[in-house]
């Protein structure tokens, strides 16, 4: 994926595209640059003053103090003015880049929220978070240090070069020619430095990966007394990280003083040339001394440039990853001309639906389902249980009905309207999914309920608990609705998280429910509460359950048995049992497995 992106976007174009995405990044950059040019003026004042003093004030025998004082006052004024410009340039660059990055962040998290679930499952969660945080952070770092450095140092070189040319074009030419080979040296060493930095970044990631595996697997390693080989592997990767970082540091160390080395040669070349030209050639001693100062100033930024190279690389890499996410198409697209859903109960239809993931990389993965040509009509208010072995396509059907993904071929309709024509906001009010492992935000129960329905009042919430027969549970919580659920709901038990998720679904008062039954074992009291709440929640609503327990299936109006992405049986529980097909034999096995210990 990375190489693909690199082919599509070489560095220069990456920056161009970044600017298009967040226009604030370049707004007013011209004025900022002009301000920066004036801002570096303070660094030119000294060489110019030296030249003027030597040539006009410090003549042997007749030093003109008044002239020098006047000159110094003008110089001071210039310093103050250029400081003001510098401040303004720094402020503008910082403010605008932060506004631009803010816009980029906003676009990015909005886009990520709208990516399809397949994309979310494909990417590691941490990777998406770091797109929005650490990758954008490399850009912040760049704008506040490297970018500022480039701006000021670049302005300084330009301003100094201009003054040099104004003083004496011959000397300026000598200075430029003598320092020109530096460009070749920089280019040569710079590419090695960039490679060295890339290598150390890679090694760093390897190292962190191996440490994280060591720590996560510590219990397993303890259980088998097998710590040593893993520790050794981590130490090797740590050593490699150290070596690559030191190597990058040493290359940088050679590059850093290159500007100064060239400066001393250039200064002597300038002085030599100045001596040859002499007063007869129109040169003054002040101009030559001033020129020496200017030469040092001219090559001064090189050291900082060599430091910035790495930052530029990281920033471009970060931006490239950010743009890569923005280029990923979002999940099911929004309808342009939404049609309203009918009032009341809603039917669900699947018409000739087939589904396959974009690429099935791993054929051995039995969790990557495919659906083949499924047609299905679910009447309003009907309770349907989807059963079948894992990988048979139950979850995919549920996701299609909830429009968390779109079918590859065919259509899904709700209340007779194609899902692609339903406005997302309306769909989410009428159809609710309760996942197997419901996610709760680290906040109060109240917050989690209002997340589903911002208009819900406290009374609504309490009555939702009552509707599902959960008032006793709510009352048993010391802080009631204000109870904090902890990160991902970790302060509650798995069963209690289910309860909150059911109330959260009920508070939206949907017409269609898609339930993915939980498999985790819960204590018996909570189990009773969950099944009671589920039963009440389903009353009068079209309900599609992914049944992991056949007892759920046996209570449904209708059972749909799936195998390898096809509907193999469809009918009521009793009908299917009587038919003696696959469902009947599955049920048989299950009955035996749960019943074999009873003494009948």
């Amino acid at each position: 994926m990375n190489t693909d992106l690199e082919q599509r976007f070489p560095s220069a174009r990456i920056i161009g595209r970044g600017v298009t995405v967040a226009p604030a990044l370049k707004s007013g950059i011209g004025l900022t640059f002009v301000l920066a040019l004036f801002g570096t003026g303070a660094r030119l004042v000294i060489p110019v003053l030296i030249q003027q003093s030597i040539d006009h004030g410090l003549q042997p025998g007749r030093v003109d103090i008044d002239y020098i004082i006047r000159l110094c006052l003008i110089g001071s004024l210039c310093v103050v003015l250029s400081s003001v410009c510098l401040r303004e340039a720094t402020r503008r660059l910082g403010t605008r880049s932060e506004s631009g990055l803010f816009a980029l962040r906003s676009q990015l998290f909005d886009h990520i929220h709208r990516l399809s679930l397949e994309e979310h499952n494909k990417e590691k969660r941490g990777a998406l978070v770091s797109r929005v945080t650490s990758d954008i952070e490399t850009l912040t770092q760049f704008f506040s240090w490297g970018g500022l450095g480039l701006l000021l140092d670049g302005s300084q070189m330009i301003a100094v070069a201009a003054v040099m040319l104004a003083y004496d074009w011959r000397l300026a030419l000598v200075a430029f020619v003598t320092s020109a080979p530096l460009v070749i040296v920089l280019r040569y060493v710079q590419s090695r430095l960039v490679r060295a930095h890339n290598l150390s970044r890679e090694r760093n990631a390897d190292f962190l990966g191996s440490v994280s595996e060591l720590m996560a697997g510590a219990e397993t390693l303890h259980a088998y007394d097998a710590e040593q080989p893993m520790i050794d592997a981590v130490l090797v990767s740590m050593h490699n990280r150290k070596k690559s970082n030191i190597r990058a540091g040493v290359i940088g160390a050679f590059l850093f003083p290159s500007g100064e080395v060239f400066a001393v040669f250039t200064v002597m070349a300038v002085v030599g040339t100045g001596l040859l030209i002499g007063p007869s050639g129109g040169l003054t001693s002040g101009a030559l001394v001033g020129f020496v100062f200017l030469t040092y100033r001219f090559l001064e930024p090189i050291a900082e440039f060599t430091e910035i190279i790495d930052q530029v690389q990281s920033a471009v890499a970060g931006l490239r990853r950010v743009l890569g996410v923005l280029d990923t198409p979002v999940g099911p697209p929004q309808s342009q001309h939404p049609r309203p859903l009918p009032q009341g109960g809603l039917s669900v239809d699947l018409k000739d639906v087939s589904f396959a993931y974009g690429s099935r990389l791993d054929e051995t993965d039995d969790d990557a389902p495919v659906l083949h040509d499924i047609s299905l009509h679910i009447a309003p208010g009907q309770h349907v249980a989807l059963v079948g072995p894992s990988g048979s396509g139950k979850t995919t059907i549920a996701r299609l009905i909830a429009r968390l993904t779109d079918p590859t071929i065919g259509r899904v309709l709700i209340g007779g309207v194609a899902l692609t024509d339903v406005a997302n906001m309306e769909l989410r009010r009428r159809l609710i999914v309760v996942p197997q492992e419901p996610f709760l935000f680290a906040n109060s129960i109240e917050y989690n309920l209002q997340f589903a329905n911002p208009d819900a009042s406290e009374t609504d919430m309490i009555s939702s608990f009552a509707d599902l027969g959960l008032s006793d549970w709510l009352e048993s919580l010391p802080l009631g609705l204000g109870t904090q659920v902890g990160q991902r709901g970790s302060s509650l038990s798995a069963g209690e998280r289910q309860l909150v998720a059911l109330v959260r679904a009920s508070i939206v008062k949907p017409d269609v429910l898609v339930l993915d039954e939980a498999t985790s074992s819960v204590d018996s009291l909570t189990e009773v509460r969950i099944s009671r709440a589920l039963e009440r929640l389903a009353v009068g609503r079209t309900t599609i359950s992914i049944a992991h327990r056949l007892s759920t299936a046996s209570r449904a109006d209708r059972v749909i048995m799936l195998e390898n992405g096809r509907i193999v049986e469809d009918g009521s529980h009793l009908e299917l049992l009587a038919a003696g097909g696959k469902y009947a034999s599955l049920y048989e096995t299950w009955i035996n497995s749960t019943g074999s210990t009873t003494n009948e």
Binding site: A42, G249, S521
Partner: protein, 575 residues
């Protein structure tokens, strides 16, 4: 406060420097060469002006000899200065990374000797941060430190040199240097406050984003994309505002730090001109004076930055020390039963709780498992079945009482098996040398030979982070094969077979019991089929472990057990 800050820095440096003093000293030597050469270079400039330029232009004297001498001085000093820089930077890097490596190694070795309980109390992410980021941050002060020692030398040498050139002008400059120095530090600190609050805003933002992406399913299910966009946008704008505040403060600082030395320099030129008029100073000396002062500006700036790094570094070091200072947990104390013993596992009067303050999970537990049996551990969710297995495995240690295990030891397969990202082979052997037939036998017994041989690279297949390329059931079977291959005598299965269908489960348990070296199997059972395969049942209920008995006996004698079995069947009754 100033005092404590200083002391903090000293103690931090003492502890860091004692790890790798040599590269640091070389870096300081390089920095000293740099400092001396910097002062010498200003002397060179003065020489060029007074001996080469001025004679040519004011007296029309061209002296080749002085030009050559000047070139040697300027170029020689410049090159030597560069060599100093190369040594300083290279060895500062070596010092930083070596120290960071030493700290990381210490943490890794220390944590890996800690018990399972300790690991359960520490988040993996936090430990990784301490090994990776914190040890690095702690050592990061060593990077710029040699430079700042050279700054001190530079300031001293410069002061002496300036006073040598011209006493009044030198004294003026020397009094200004500490002032500039103080200004830099003062400003740096004010800006740090802004940066700290920006950093905090970044932390809040990352946390919010993390949670929001984690719950993307809920966001989608309730159509809350727009609401989340607004909420995160609010937090993100706080970050932007904090950053903009920091940038504004910094813009003033930068301008000030850039402008002030220039103003001082202008003043020095004016005053220097008076000294030149009076014949106390040559033009070359004045030039050299100004040049040297210019050179000081950058180091003075850096030192403020360095001082702001100290608290950063020392908080990293504190987090490193926190881990290293934690005492090692007592190691497990499994008593080995002799080979000819007819008892495989015995727990004697054991009481266990996770933390001293907690109520014990078990108190005064006694039981012994005969060699050759398959035992099912039965109990409600949360009754402590996993804890019991970890006690037998020696991963947890009872506060009171003892655990005895048959010679050869036990192998525990966890409820959620952990696979390493390497090959299947590595996951089976964990880096130990195990004979090929033993591995094959373990794959056979765990009913994994078929799917493993179907993989393109067979046993050399890389399983990916946490075994991501395998399904749940496959992961569990590999973990089981790992336990069998380890050659232990007692096999402990913590609900390991739950992801398998009942037929495969019974095949696995059958094959395992046919293995000659595994004499005894203890398995946590969460469904009746498992109980059926076992010879005996260990019933865990309300902190008590009932004596081993057959299922039938327990059904008659133990009401709680009978009730639990009924709830296993509840599903069936409901139909």
């Amino acid at each position: 406060m100033e005092q404590s800050r200083f002391r903090l820095a000293i103690s931090l440096l003492r502890q860091l420097l004692k790890l790798h003093p040599r590269p640091f000293l070389i870096a300081v030597a390089g920095a000293s060469v740099y400092a001396v050469c910097t002062v010498a270079s200003s002397f060179g400039l003065g020489y060029v002006v007074d001996e080469v330029i001025i004679p040519r232009f004011q007296s029309d004297i061209v002296n080749g000899q002085t030009f050559v001498t000047a070139s040697f001085i300027v170029i020689g000093v410049g090159l030597l200065r560069a060599v100093g820089v190369v040594f300083r930077r290279s060895y500062a890097g070596i010092s930083h990374w070596s120290t960071s490596e030493s700290l990381s190694t210490q943490i890794i070795k220390h944590t890996m000797r800690q018990s399972t309980t300790w690991h359960q109390q520490h988040m993996t992410g936090d430990l990784v941060a301490r090994v990776g980021v914190d040890s690095d941050t702690a050592a990061s002060i060593l990077g710029p430190l040699p430079f700042s020692t050279s700054v001190i030398l530079l300031v001293v040498l410069t002061s002496v040199w300036l006073v040598v050139i011209d006493i009044p002008l030198g004294l003026l400059a020397v009094t200004i240097i500490p002032l500039l120095f103080a200004l830099n530090i003062g400003y740096q600190r004010r800006i740090d406050r802004h940066f700290d609050s920006a950093q905090k805003a970044l932390g809040d933002f990352s946390e919010a984003v993390h949670e929001s992406f984690d719950g993307v399913m809920v966001v989608k299910a309730f159509g809350a994309e727009d609401r989340e966009h607004l909420r995160l946008g609010g937090i993100s704008s706080k970050l932007r505002d904090a950053r903009i505040n920091a940038v504004k403060a910094r813009a003033i600082f930068e301008a000030f730090v850039d402008g002030t030395p220039s103003l001082v320099n202008v003043a020095l030129i004016a005053y220097g001109a008076i000294r030149v008029r009076n014949g106390d100073l040559s033009i070359g000396e004045l030039s050299s004076f100004i040049y040297l002062f210019t050179l000081l500006v950058f180091p003075l700036r850096i030192i403020g930055y360095l001082l702001s790094e100290i608290p950063h570094s020392s908080s990293g070091f504190k987090r490193v020390r926190e881990i290293l200072d934690e005492p090692l947990d007592a190691q497990s104390m499994i008593v080995t039963l002799p080979q000819d013993s007819n008892i495989a596992v015995e727990i004697h009067d054991a009481t266990f709780s996770y933390a001293e303050s907690d109520a014990p999970i078990f108190s005064q537990v006694n039981f012994s498992v005969p060699v050759g049996s398959t035992v099912a551990v039965v109990g409600e969710t949360g009754s402590g079945k996993s804890t019991l297995l970890k006690l037998i495995a020696g991963l947890l240690r009872p506060q009171v009482g003892s655990v005895h295990v048959l010679q050869g030891g036990s192998a525990l397969v966890f409820q959620e098996p952990f696979l390493f990202s390497g090959s299947l082979h590595f996951n089976l052997t964990l880096g130990k040398s195990i004979h090929v037939p033993d591995i094959a036998r373990a794959l056979w017994a765990s009913v994994s030979e078929e799917f493993v041989s179907n993989l393109e690279n067979g046993i050399d297949t890389i399983v990916g982070e946490r075994g991501i390329s395998l399904s749940g059931g496959q992961r569990q079977r590999i973990a089981l094969a790992r336990a069998i291959a380890s050659g232990r005598t007692v096999l402990l299965l913590d609900d390991t077979t739950s992801a398998l269908d009942p037929a495969t489960e019974s095949m696995v348990l059958e094959r395992v019991s046919s293995l000659s070296d595994i004499t005894t199997t203890i398995v946590v059972a969460s469904r009746p089929t498992t109980v059926k395969i076992a010879d005996l049942v260990l019933f865990v209920h309300q902190g008590k472990v009932h004596e081993l008995a057959t299922h039938e006996t327990l059904m008659i004698n133990n009401q709680a057990y009978a009730n639990l079995m009924k709830s296993f069947e509840m599903d069936r009754k409901a139909s």
